[in-house]
């Protein structure tokens, strides 16, 4: 990001950037950078807070008046705390209470994941209806197909992705992204009850079959495909899943990263 700023500015186009990792901006020294103390993934701060977002953008654009580059300024405000529900004492909870599979369901990742996806689907449909958008769609596959594919892979079956182009490793990663987005959107679909990223992460990695499936996949390795090996070992399970809260659930036993 900072390297792009150098190249553009050298070509005569004035730049300013938002920096999320201050030490990186200190080292790369882009022409103008506003460091913000926000969560990774949220360079403009807080969703659905237009006034705060505007302050961040104005602070970054105001740096364009500076020609004594490099300029690195700190944004003086933390991201406002989010009210997860109209009642601040009311914690976010997942809209679905996952029940144990019935005894006639095969005990496989695939079957358990299929049940979970079916339970979450009404909430996902609610999200799509209320928001008129969804981030699911990288693969074009229905979530039940994603569950079949990823569950099957975790179960050691020979599975394929019905995608036309590209490397299998890329398609695999897109399938994981689609499944994660399906879960996150379903989880946040309750009217008036929004989970913080920490709440959604904690729920996902501590209590879903999808998390168990992804952890099982990570530990399988790429079977001779070096690109797939990178995806499985580094791009499936986030570092945050290895925090204390998650270890308590004994879902994460080793780190391969």
């Amino acid at each position: 990001m900072s390297a792009i700023a150098h190249q553009l500015e050298s070509a005569g186009i004035p730049t300013t950037l938002v920096a999320l990792v201050r030490p990186h901006a200190e080292k790369i020294r882009p022409p103008r950078a506003l460091w913000v103390p926000f969560e990774l993934g949220r360079p403009i701060g807080t969703p659905e807070n237009t006034i705060f977002q505007r302050r961040v953008i104005e602070a970054a654009l105001d740096l364009l008046t500076r020609t004594d580059t490099p300029v690195l300024m700190d944004f003086p405000e933390e991201a406002p705390a989010e009210a997860s529900s109209p009642n601040p004492d009311e914690m976010w909870v997942c809209p679905v209470s996952f029940s144990n599979n019935s005894t006639d369901t095969p005990d496989t990742h695939t079957s358990r994941l299929m049940v979970e996806v079916a339970q979450l689907r009404p909430w996902y449909e609610t999200w799509k209806r209320e928001r008129s958008r969804t981030g699911v769609g990288l693969t074009g596959l229905d979530p039940s197909k994603l569950a079949q594919f990823l569950g099957g892979f975790a179960d050691g079956e020979k599975v394929s992705l019905p995608l036309e182009t590209g490397r299998f490793a890329d398609a695999f990663k897109l399938a994981v992204n689609d499944l994660l987005t399906f879960y996150q959107e379903a989880a946040n679909a309750q009217p008036g009850k929004i989970g913080s990223s920490a709440e959604i992460n904690s729920w996902f990695w501590s209590s879903t079959e999808a998390a168990k499936t992804l952890l099982a996949i990570r530990n399988q390795g790429g079977n001779g495909d070096p690109q797939l090996d990178i995806v499985l070992k580094r791009l499936i399970v986030p570092h945050v899943a290895e925090g204390v809260a998650f270890r308590e659930h004994r879902l994460v036993s080793t780190s391969n990263d």
């Binding site: 403009i44 659905e48 237009t50 505007r54 182009t165 791009l235 290895e242």
Partner: protein, 153 residues
């Protein structure tokens, strides 16, 4: 949470170990008042228009996002799993604040919103992205963009 000290140990070690380019000098361009500038966004969130090919690992190419795009036109395919996506899912302006820029153009805070904005895959090697940046530099100069706001995730 983007303070390194607040991050889980593994994530902090990962970020600290990332190879970074260095630059001996930093260029500096002047420009008119903000109220007269044409502003473009560059995001490294791996955004594409729905229906376009998503980004793959190591991608050094870019996608064009029209200034008229709406949230439902955009899809994210960044490969990293270590940043929050729920904020973007709720409000795309957290990552690509086109709505805010349009408001600023409407009230005269900026001169105009550019007709074209751009997205890269942020996890890719900056060196490999240079040819793509040369292409969009020329496009921006043609469009008379004189302010670029760069946004990572």
């Amino acid at each position: 949470m983007a303070r390194l000290s607040d991050m889980p140990d593994a994530l902090r070690r990962h970020i600290e170990a990332l190879p970074l380019p260095t630059f001996e000098e930093t260029a500096s361009c002047d420009g008119p008042a903000l109220s007269e500038r044409r502003v473009a966004l560059i995001s490294t969130a791996g955004l594409s228009m729905t229906g376009e090919a998503p980004f793959g690992m190591g991608a050094a190419d870019y996608r064009v996002i029209p200034g008229s795009a709406d949230a439902s036109d955009i899809i994210m395919s960044h490969i990293s799993v270590n940043y929050d996506r729920t904020g973007y899912q709720r409000d795309w302006n957290v990552v690509l604040p086109l709505d805010r820029l349009r408001e600023m153009a409407a009230d005269g805070s900026i001169g105009a919103v550019a007709d074209h904005h751009y997205s890269f895959m942020g996890a890719s090697d900056p060196e490999s992205m240079k040819p793509s940046i040369e292409v969009i530099t020329k496009a921006m100069l043609r469009e008379k963009v004189d302010a670029v706001l760069l946004l990572p995730v």
